[in-house]
């Protein structure tokens, strides 16, 4: 039996077809409208990273030798590019350095970003004189990865390239189409990322410290916070609220620009941050979110980190891999964790051919130089660690140092 098609039949299919396309188009439009109106955009997830990525063409156009410190929020807080440049120049090795330290990432996401850095440098025929890469142990744990699984597709969709999506499409069509969809139809926000963003407050609670908060310190902290905000506005009246500031080379303010009085206020402010209550609670938070004491590593994250190092090795004259200082008063790893860390370091060294600098127990850095259990204070710890890096990179002959 032949069923010849009539124009009414075609009109019906056309109607169904249009209903599907218009319906889906309208639904996607609503999704985007909602994202924009609630402020849940790709910029919310990766604003600072995207700004740094956007600055790459400008960086490669710089006339000076280039240096880059790539890592986590510990690098963001603990490395001052402008201080570094100044001290390197004093030691006869002028460079222009950039802080590429970002919070909330893990090596999987950093690996994608490092590919973009590599591509830009290769495209522009530039090389980095020095690449410093942080290996942050607690960023590579299973716990840390599990906490960000719902963001993995979003990160890849935002930071990846169509060529990378195509490669995924060939291996796993479902995932490949999803990445294109997230990037080009959903403006970088996957459903999981949206749900986790909105429902973040409903996550099961973690263990909290039993140490009571120092009420006086808390109240003084609030006061100082306001005073320091005011001081900032006075000292930097033209500063635009960029999260990755090209003028500051991705770093923050430096002590040389601040008055002695402001620096004294900062010292006091840092002290109010280091109450037993806050530090113990921060330690528990890091245990909960990153397994910072036991360090059970995710092998995929270790391999992703090796990928980062290799990307930088391709575009750099000198690559150094470092572990930043830890607040030893609050973060003490178990012997098993130390063994696991040693194995991970050995794997990285074997795969990259580099010797890793272990600065975790650096004598020059004391617990008073941290603002919490992991991050260095900008005007104390950050200054000291940046200086340490300069010394490592430009060692002075023993005799000169003595003189």
């Amino acid at each position: 039996m032949n069923l010849s098609t009539s124009s009414s039949e075609r009109a019906l299919f056309a109607r169904i077809f249009l209903a599907i396309l218009l319906g889906m188009g309208a639904a996607l439009g609503l999704v985007r409208l909602f994202h924009v109106s609630t402020g849940i955009t790709a910029d919310n997830f990766l604003g600072r990273v995207l700004q740094a990525k956007a600055a790459l063409p400008r960086i490669t156009r710089e006339s000076q030798e280039l240096a880059m410190f790539f890592g986590s929020s510990m690098v963001q807080a603990g490395f001052s590019p402008r201080q570094f440049d100044r001290e390197m120049a004093e030691r006869g090795m002028p460079v222009k350095s950039f802080n590429f330290g970002f919070g909330g990432l893990n090596p999987l996401f950093q690996d994608i970003l490092s590919r973009r850095v590599r591509e830009q440098f290769e495209r522009d025929g530039r090389r980095l004189k020095i690449a410093l890469i942080e290996f942050n142990p607690f960023q590579a744990t299973i716990t840390r990865r599990n906490g960000a699984r719902e963001a993995e597709e979003t990160m890849l969709a935002i930071l990846g390239t169509p060529r990378e999506f195509l490669r995924v499409l060939m291996e796993d069509p479902e995932r490949g189409v999803r990445l294109f969809n997230i990037r080009y139809l959903r403006d970088g926000i996957s459903a999981e990322a949206f749900t986790s963003f909105v429902a973040g407050g409903m996550a099961p609670p973690r263990a909290r410290t039993g140490i009571p908060e120092d009420e006086a310190a808390q109240s003084r902290r609030r006061e100082l916070d306001k005073i320091l905000d005011r001081r900032f506005e006075e000292d930097y009246p033209d500063h635009e609220d960029e999260r990755w500031h090209y003028g500051w080379q991705g770093g923050g303010t430096i002590p040389a620009e601040r008055s002695a009085e402001t620096l004294a206020l900062f010292d006091e402010f840092y002290a109010t941050l280091r109450t037993e209550h806050r530090l113990d609670d921060d330690r528990l938070h890091r245990i909960h979110s990153a397994d910072i004491i036991e360090l059970r590593f995710d092998p995929e994250l270790i391999e992703a980190f090796i990928g980062i190092v290799k990307n930088f090795q391709a575009i750099s004259d000198r690559v150094e891999v470092l572990m930043l200082p830890k607040n030893g008063r609050w973060i003490e790893n178990t012997p098993e964790a130390e063994r696991r860390l040693a194995a991970a370091v050995a794997r990285i060294e074997e795969a990259t051919g580099l010797s890793l600098h272990n600065d975790r127990e650096l004598p020059a850095i004391t617990p008073e130089m941290f603002v919490d259990t992991t991050h260095l204070a900008r005007y104390t710890g950050g200054v000291a660690y940046t200086r340490h890096l300069v010394e490592v990179l430009t060692p002075q002959p023993e005799t000169t140092a003595t003189r």
Partner: protein, 471 residues
């Protein structure tokens, strides 16, 4: 390929384009459905396409041979081959490792260490659905309930029809083959109903994925959990499995309607059931009716003496159909026992007034009791071992025992879980009772559909598979 993914959306749009505007005659359309269905199936694993096609080809020719054979032994032998091959496929791919593991465990009880390695075969997706569907055809032909159909491609296309291929509903040959012969055209009214079902299905699937989190928190917990969290977990799983499976069924029915095919309802508000028997008339209707027609009745059905035994065997095997694990067997046995006891009580004069009462309070009591028993069943279904199930059942009833305190926010999660379960049923009730009327109001209908779709796109998790794919 999963219905709620961009890949399936692209697949369906392209399919519809060719189906509606390029292949304009019946035969090319049937061929096209077959090719598209195999592409749909192959997106999961192309290696198993021969198994699906082979099963169809074998049953097609066996049905022809059964119809041509004279009544007697030869017909029985041919039917036996069909059943043996279909069940054999299931046995090898789905139950072999379970059987090997069970034998090894059994021998260990007597101190004998058997070193038999498991086959570790990949379970072809949808195998339990299409083997049952294919088998129903040869049985129906054998019984004389239908004549064998001419047209191998038509038969294979019907068996592999992509909306219902991987997770049902399990269609009878007599339901779907005549439709493939006529190849009906959609109507705009049916298409609108299809859009409504697809949207409701998507909504339920989205809610199911959200409920998976508290369910996993309770069932996969490494240590003891609080009483509230155990109940939240069980309720959440009840919602998850309902939203997941009935959502998939709704989408399958809706997609078929867009092409003009009618697929019968697979769920009818199961958690509103007022007895275990009533529950099975509402839950996975296509499976329960299949088991009734092709297992329970051949076993002897309601014949006195064997009735309870037949019910128990049917439900036990129904449980095993869901998965190769003792927890599924226990779940089937539990429901078999419940149905048997319900029938027995209904026969007792003492309980007759209760069983047939129309009093609202008694109906509420019966509903609550049934829902409670169904929830207990889900513990067996979801737990990864019988020990785990027992532990969860103990926790659920540990009123006053020393258990961890519920975490902050646990009451909110419990409330949201219960609300999600209720919302899914209320939406289903609305669709069942007022779906057609809703579709008549375009100014409310389309914006409502688009809004729900947008919400699902915003919070849905298209990467998670449907639970029933594994069965």
């Amino acid at each position: 390929m999963i219905f709620n993914t961009p890949l399936f959306f692209a697949f369906f749009v392209v399919f519809l384009l060719f189906y509606g505007f390029v292949f304009l005659q019946r035969r090319p359309r049937v061929y096209f459905i077959l090719v598209a269905s195999l592409v749909f199936y192959g997106a999961w694993n192309y290696a198993f396409i021969p198994l699906l096609v082979g099963s169809a080809v074998l049953d097609y020719f066996l049905a022809q041979a059964i119809a041509a054979a004279p009544a007697g032994r030869r017909r029985k032998t041919l039917l036996g081959i069909s059943i043996a091959v279909n069940l054999g496929i299931l046995a090898v791919f789905k139950y072999a490792d379970f059987a090997i593991g069970s034998v090894v465990d059994f021998l260990q009880l007597f101190g004998y260490q058997a070193s038999v390695s498991s086959l570790e075969l990949i379970l072809p997706v949808g195998i339990s659905f299409y083997t049952f569907q294919s088998m129903s055809y040869t049985i129906d032909v054998y019984r004389g309930d239908m004549q064998p159909r001419k047209g191998l491609v038509e038969f294979t296309a019907a068996l592999a029809f992509f909306p219902q291929l991987v997770a049902g509903p399990i269609l009878r040959a007599r339901q779907i083959l005549p439709q493939f012969h006529k190849l009906p055209l959609p109507t705009w009214v049916n298409a609108k109903h299809g859009f409504l079902l697809i949207t409701v299905g998507l909504m339920k699937k989205t809610m199911a994925d959200l409920l998976a989190v508290p369910a996993a928190a309770a069932f996969d917990a490494q240590g003891p959990i609080s009483l509230m969290e155990s109940w939240t977990g069980v309720l959440a799983f009840a919602g998850q499995i309902y939203g997941d499976f009935s959502g998939y069924s709704d989408m399958a029915i809706g997609l078929a309607l867009l092409l003009g095919f009618q697929i019968p309802l697979n769920f009818r508000l199961p958690y509103f059931a007022v007895s275990p028997v009533d529950f099975w008339r509402r839950w996975h209707i296509s499976l329960s009716s299949w088991l009734r027609d092709y297992l329970y009745i051949p076993l002897g059905g309601n014949r006195r003496g064997n009735r309870y035994c037949n019910i128990f065997i049917t439900m036990l095997l129904g449980g095993l159909w869901h998965g190769a694990a003792w927890t599924f067997v226990a779940w089937g046995a539990f429901h078999g026992a419940l149905i048997g006891v319900t029938h027995k009580l209904g026969e007792l004069r003492l309980f007759a007034p209760f069983a047939h009462s129309r009093s609202l309070w008694i109906r509420i009591f019966k509903w609550a009791l049934t829902f409670y028993l169904v929830l207990l069943g889900w513990v067996l279904f979801r737990a990864t071992s019988l020990e785990g199930a027992w532990q969860m059942l103990v926790t659920l009833h540990s009123f006053g025992a020393v258990l961890p305190s519920p975490s902050h926010g646990a009451a909110l999660v419990l409330g949201l879980t219960a609300a999600a379960l209720l919302v899914m049923h209320l939406v289903d009730y609305g669709v069942l009772q007022h779906g057609e009327r809703l579709a008549q109001k375009p100014w409310g209908f389309w914006p409502a559909l688009v809004t729900v779709q947008a919400l699902c796109l915003m919070i849905g998790e298209p990467s998670s598979e449907f639970i029933y794919f594994q069965f």
